[in-house]
Amino acid sequence: MTVEQEQGLETLEINVNMGPQHPATHGVFRMVLTVDGERVVDLVPHIGYLHRGAEKLSENLDYRQAIGLQDRTEYLAAFNAELCYVMAVEKLAGLEVPERAQYIRVILAELNRITSHYMFMGAFATDIGVFGTAFTYGFREREYIQDLFEEVSGDRMMYAYFRPGGVAWDAPDNFKERVRWVCRQTRVGISDIDGLLTTNEVFVARTRGIGAISSQKAIDYGLSGPVLRACGLKVDLRREEPYSIYDRFDFDIPTGERGDSFDRYWVRLEEMRQSVRIVEQAVEQMPDSGPILPEKLPRRLRCPPGEVYMRAENPRGEYGIYLVSKGGDKPYRLKVRSPSYCNLMALKEMTVGHYVADAVVVLGSIDIVLGEVDR
């Protein structure tokens, strides 16, 4: 397709292939940009390069074994994914989760949201051009929190620590002091990144007004999480449909005004501060001792026939688990509604019309995790 020019020199459009192996595509995402000079005319996303069939395999694993696959599906915020899956199984099986386990879960899920946002800060700033600096800040802070995760669950990334009905084993005795120390350290880390990026003139120039989307379109595309809150909608599942014990904490929901890349960054930055507030309140209210699993938990958990669509607020948006059970100890069908998958549908809408360099910024601002997009 040739493009007419004012001076009558028509030029051909070039297909730029930002393929599976690309530093800015956050994993194996591929998009073919049709480019007229510097301006993006068309964008065709291709996914599926990491489709590993977690849903098919979960149908052949029993309810406890499928927890491991949930970690690997959402590998930047594994605790949140586990929380959503485990609550879905509890809803079906009608299990009551004891108090102490609820608090441990909320603390770990919120801290995992912070590590996921740290990873976003590093990757997003690298896409903008702050090469490496924000990455080192982000990963330095992540290590502190991952040390705490390792003390509690024994692993840095793939925890498999939550169980239907509570948590696998009790948190260590110094859990409260460690969490308080990590919260103090995280507040310092957040202000570091805030100081580095928010008022950085180049950063604002590169992200303000890029990839904006209106709230009606956002709802029509099914966007969720920080991408939707950046459009100005005060929408958060922890507040609208409070699950677990989120109704006991007071935290506010940051929203942006114009729904562009800077607002998405800013919403995630504020969310990290709110998460620290939640964790601090949770540590105060947490009972010092108590059961962490219901007493009458059967060895092999069998769910009565039925179905449930459990949704939870993940760092990237609404993470839903549609679980169909026909009796027995294996889920009959487990569908993961992944927020990145839905947020990616609007990528073309946000990118067409901007420059090629901005396509990278828009993709970074959506913050996708390929394990969850391709499942």
Binding site: K56, N60, V235, P305, R311, C342
Partner: protein, 184 residues
């Protein structure tokens, strides 16, 4: 687990005044089979008037389901393939699950992309994973599988898991295992 042990979920009628009654009010001539799921109300609809139900769900001010949460396929083998729509309304803050069951030999369904733009990829994935054909979908090409693989539907219950093949490095002689030493 073998098909005999599978039991169907008992139909628990939803509480009065729930979304099911709203739907009955908005669409009196459509017969719904309402049930109360673990969290939301489940309405099972025939395939013929599915499009009208979805269109009304989005446009009718009383329902106002502007947000398509999730669209998934479920393979019930002989009982056919089921397509499940989870909808949510930001204004009324209520949820609904709309289901349509398709016969296994003719899995065909009107597409919802013209109603919610967010249904595009969900439908492409359901199409390639279960072999459902969505009429009117602008670009029904496999999404997670390679574009030219159209006859392999992995999520169907009858497509088997792969066998564990022998690990390459143990098999003697293959270049892959001993790539380090270049052959003399």
């Amino acid at each position: 687990m073998s098909p005999e042990e599978q039991q169907e979920a008992p139909i628990v009628p939803p509480p009065p005044g729930s979304v099911a009654d709203l739907f009955a009010a908005v669409l009196p001539d459509v017969k719904f089979q309402a049930a109360q799921g673990a969290l939301d109300v489940i309405l099972t609809v025939d395939r013929e008037d599915l499009r009208r139900v979805l269109r009304a769900a989005k446009d009718d001010p009383r329902l106002d389901f502007k947000y398509l949460r999730c669209l998934s396929g479920v393979d019930h083998m002989e009982a056919g393939v089921e397509v499940v729509y989870h909808l949510y309304s930001y204004t009324h803050k209520h949820n609904v699950t709309i289901k349509a069951r398709l016969p296994q030999d003719d899995p065909r369904l009107p597409s919802a992309t013209s109603i919610w733009r967010g249904a595009d990829w969900h439908e492409r994935e359901a199409a390639e994973m279960f072999g459902i054909f969505f009429e009117g979908h602008p670009n029904l090409v496999p999404l997670l599988l390679p574009e030219d693989m159209t006859d392999h539907h992995p999520l169907r219950k009858d497509s088997p898991l792969a066998e564990i093949e022998e690990w390459q490095a143990e098999r003697a002689g293959l270049a892959a295992g001993e790539a380090g030493e270049a052959e003399e």
